[in-house]
Amino acid sequence: MSKLILTVDDSATIRMLLKASLSAQGFRIESANDGEHGLERMHEVKPDLLITDINMPKMDGFELIEAVRKTNEFKGTPILVLSTEFSDEKKTRAREAGATGWITKPFDADRLGAAIRRVCP
């Protein structure tokens, strides 16, 4: 069974780009459009990997990661942040919230795929 990835981003553009480029690499993709929705979907689909944006309405990426990590079941689930931000402050914060890694937008599909396989082989 190929790996199931949940992508959370408020931009439909990014969601579709992720879906298109990652499906092509054999991943199964589910998506959600904000943190709240993401947390809901997380429990529904129980993905192998979570990729989330930071700046989102309702619940931002940091809050989402914290909430996900609070669930025992997801303690070991890799979480990648995909954001246009790249400040150290934000990265540290994501790390403290429980993120596994940080990828800066715009992303290159192949490198993203490689990064995913690195945390979620």
Partner: protein, 750 residues
């Protein structure tokens, strides 16, 4: 994939439009004084999303500008720049440029000249107390490149864990050297292999990291674990199974690129022990490796850069460097965040506040239209079915239930097409800013009812009329500041844009507080243009209506702004082609109101089937207030051509609908029914018909595909028995004087 990309790109531009609308709404709210965190965060997010997508599609000019714009917004959001009116004005200007950038990216046109605006944004950044330590990333193109380099891995920042600080001892200890294989390094003919040490931090596994994966990956490159240091392993009783206690040592063949090795550590927690050195560089030292690394040494964390494993500096080095240099390199480029550790804990992201992003899925409008047509057919078939069943069967439970379901489907399909009219309003603020710049007039915009939902088709089509009405209001209505002050008005004029649902219609109004229509001039012009004769007796409303008469344009005599658009006659015909009406109400010195009354939906109507002689007509139920069976004498003639009905002490005008359409009815009023209707044009009016058949939902079929618009008729429909019935346009019918004169435009106040 390229088709798919095109499709995604199309969605990106749709999102840009949505984002621009959100940003503009937020900025307008800021300009109006609402600088709450939610509003600012909404604007930031909108611009941020535009930036995010633009990078993905290589729109570098858009990316560059949105990035700089976002920087300023970020500072405002963080409270480091105050959203003063000046700053907000500049942001609005930047918004306009951003819109231009989006259009340019979408059409492939030239990017707008944003140099001046960028200077202004920079000035705000410089003057707003932005932290100087945070250098602005290069504009435009370099940014994505830098981002790509930065693509993976956390950049460690002032990591509080001590192990690395122990290695990199601020108090003058030697860097811990790594004691490993003591075999003789091969001669220069062949480079030495790599020695890699990896000691995952305690946090590594907590964040979903799996050290084993790194080791596996190194092994896949030919690496081999040569030693495992387990000295840090505590007694079983103290062992935390979620912790990591080992330090692995691996050798990796020399043929492997250092970059590839370091890439394996992309997602390893930054406070882990990671060393990659050429075996030949290995210094045999006395310090014991590993053990100290996981002891909580008692000295305080100091503002030093821990050993950095971040991609940038390492990747920037073309040649692998010996370990000590690798340690020193990051120190040469201290990061600002380290210099000010945690001074400003990031504030929690503001929850979405005043500005909501519309969440949606996108469906081709054509599919919705098709669905709507099918539902329309369903409605007709169900009517036919209902009519054909014997009356006894019509009451059976299934049938009313079926009708109810169909009704629900219908409502749902309608609501799919409904959009907040805000979308049509959203382009107005910018237009006003442009107009203000052109005319030197000052105008503020007020809007109400922008969440009123209207059929998407209507929204698309009212854009142009709306634009022209606003231009008209600024150009002809609002006076210049001096003139306004002389008239005792505030120097800044106001245009009020409103939408409300009223009965089955949406009323969109553009109200200005300007000078009102100059009736003398309009009348003179109309006579000059041969639209009316010099001796025509016209009411004020009729004169106002003349500005919508074909061939009438006052533009050239007053200014050229409105003249660039279409004439008001075209505006009126646009509105009418939507099944709507345009009304004008003007008070000299106080202002003018243009009102568009538009149908809520273009497709299905709740109607009352009435009979006039042999003909059946549909009267929109939304207009019907009550039905009266007149007593003898209740309907009285006031002149040979007009009648009134006395109803609870009030006299309401009555129109014989049959006669208006040339259908002769011999019935006396007391044998007829008077349906009291509410109209926008003439208030409550009685319509006299022969009988009422029943109530029915009908699917509106346009007559205009085949015929010219016919005043008094809004369309046609097919009844349950297959017969065709015409749909009455109540507002046109009730107009005093028969309703079929050529220019029927009455003030709403009348």
């Amino acid at each position: 994939m390229s088709d798919e990309l095109d499709e995604i790109q199309a969605i990106f531009f749709e999102e840009c439009v949505e984002g621009l609308a959100v940003a503009e709404e937020g900025l307008s709210a800021m300009a109006a004084g609402d600088t709450s965190a939610g509003v600012i965060a909404g604007v930031f997010r909108a611009v941020h999303s535009i930036k995010g997508g633009s990078g993905a599609f290589g729109h570098t000019a858009l990316l560059g500008f949105s990035h700089r714009f976002e920087n300023v917004l970020d500072e405002v959001r963080a409270g480091r720049i105050a959203p003063t009116p000046e700053v907000t004005q500049c942001l609005l200007g930047a918004f306009d440029i951003l819109s231009d950038h989006v259009s340019a990216a979408q059409t492939g046109g030239d990017a707008p000249d944003d140099g001046l605006m960028l200077e202004q944004l920079d000035a705000i950044l410089a003057g707003g107390g932005a932290p100087a330590a945070q250098p602005e990333p290069e504009p435009v193109a370099p940014e994505p490149v830098a981002a790509a380099e930065d693509e993976f891995g956390f950049v460690p920042v002032a990591a509080p864990i001590i192990d690395l600080d122990a290695d990199f001892d601020p108090f003058g200890f030697e860097p811990v050297a790594v004691a490993l294989d003591d075999f003789d390094a091969p001669e220069a003919a062949e480079p030495a292999g790599w020695t890699v040490r990896f000691g995952p931090s305690r946090a590594a596994m907590a964040n979903g990291g799996e050290p084993l994966l790194v080791i596996r990956e190194l092994e896949s490159m030919g690496g081999e674990v040569t030693a495992v240091d387990s000295e840090a392993l505590p007694p079983l009783a103290e062992l935390d199974p979620e912790d990591s206690y080992f330090v692995w040592t691996l050798t990796v063949p020399a043929s492997v690129d250092e970059r590839d090795i370091r890439d394996c550590f992309d997602f390893v927690a930054p406070d882990s022990l990671i060393e990659v050195v050429r075996a030949e560089d290995t210094v045999v030292g006395g310090a014991e490796p590993g053990v100290a690394a996981f002891e909580e040494l008692p000295f305080e964390p100091v503002p030093f850069e821990p050993i950095s494993f971040e991609a940038e500096p390492v990747l920037a080095e073309p040649v692998p460097t010996p370990a000590p240099v690798a340690v020193a390199a990051p120190v040469e480029a201290p990061r600002p965040a380290v210099a000010a550790p945690k001074a400003e804990a990031p504030k929690p992201e503001a929850k979405s506040g005043g500005v909501e992003v519309a969440q949606s899925i996108r469906v081709d409008l054509g599919k919705l239209d098709q669905l709507l047509n099918l539902v329309g057919e369903l409605v007709i078939r169900s009517s036919i079915l209902s009519d054909r069943l014997p009356p006894a069967d019509q009451e059976r439970v299934e049938l009313p239930e079926l009708s109810r379901l169909i009704r629900q489907i219908q409502d749902n399909v309608m609501s799919l097409r409904a959009q907040p009219i805000k979308q049509a309003f959203s382009r107005v603020p910018r237009m006003l800013r442009d107009l203000m710049a052109e005319t030197g007039k000052r105008v503020q915009l007020e809007t109400t009812g922008e969440m009123t939902e209207v059929d998407k088709g209507v929204i698309e089509k009212i854009g142009d009329p709306l634009t022209h009405m606003i231009r008209n209001a600024v150009d002809h209505g609002i006076e210049g500041p001096e003139e306004r002050e002389a008239a005792g008005k505030p120097a800044e004029g106001t245009i009020h844009l409103s939408a409300e649902q009223k009965g089955g219609r949406i009323i969109v109004r553009v109200r200005d507080d300007g000078r009102g229509i100059n009736r003398e001039r309009v009348r003179a012009k109309a006579i000059e243009r041969g639209i009316i004769t010099a001796d025509a007796q016209l009411s004020d409303e009729e004169i106002d209506g003349l500005i919508c008469a074909p061939g009438f344009s006052t533009a050239e005599t007053i200014s050229n702004i409105s003249g660039r658009g279409v004439g008001m006659d075209v505006v009126r015909s646009n509105v009418e082609s939507l099944g709507g009406r345009l009304e004008i109400n003007s008070v000299p010195g106080e202002g003018t109101t243009f009102s568009m009354a538009l149908p809520l939906t273009l497709a299905i109507l709740d109607g009352m089937i009435v009979r006039l002689g042999e003909q059946r007509f549909v009267l929109p139920l939304a207009n019907v207030i009550e039905t009266v069976q007149p007593e003898p004498g209740q309907v009285q003639a006031t002149s040979p051509t007009s009648e009134v009905i006395e109803l609870r002490g009030q006299y309401l005008p009555v129109r014989r609908v049959g006669e208006m359409f040339g259908l002769r009815s011999q019935r006396a009023p007391e044998d007829s029914l008077v349906i009291i209707v509410e109209s926008d044009t003439a208030g409550h009016v009685g319509l006299m018909v022969d009988t009422i058949d029943n109530r029915r939902e009908v699917v509106i079929k346009s007559l205009e595909d085949n015929l010219h618009p016919i005043r008094g008729l809004g369309g046609a429909t097919i009844l349950g028995d297959g017969a065709i019935a015409l749909i009455l346009d109540v507002d046109a019918l009730v107009v005093p004087g028969g309703g079929f004169s050529k220019y029927v435009l009455k003030g709403l106040a009348a």
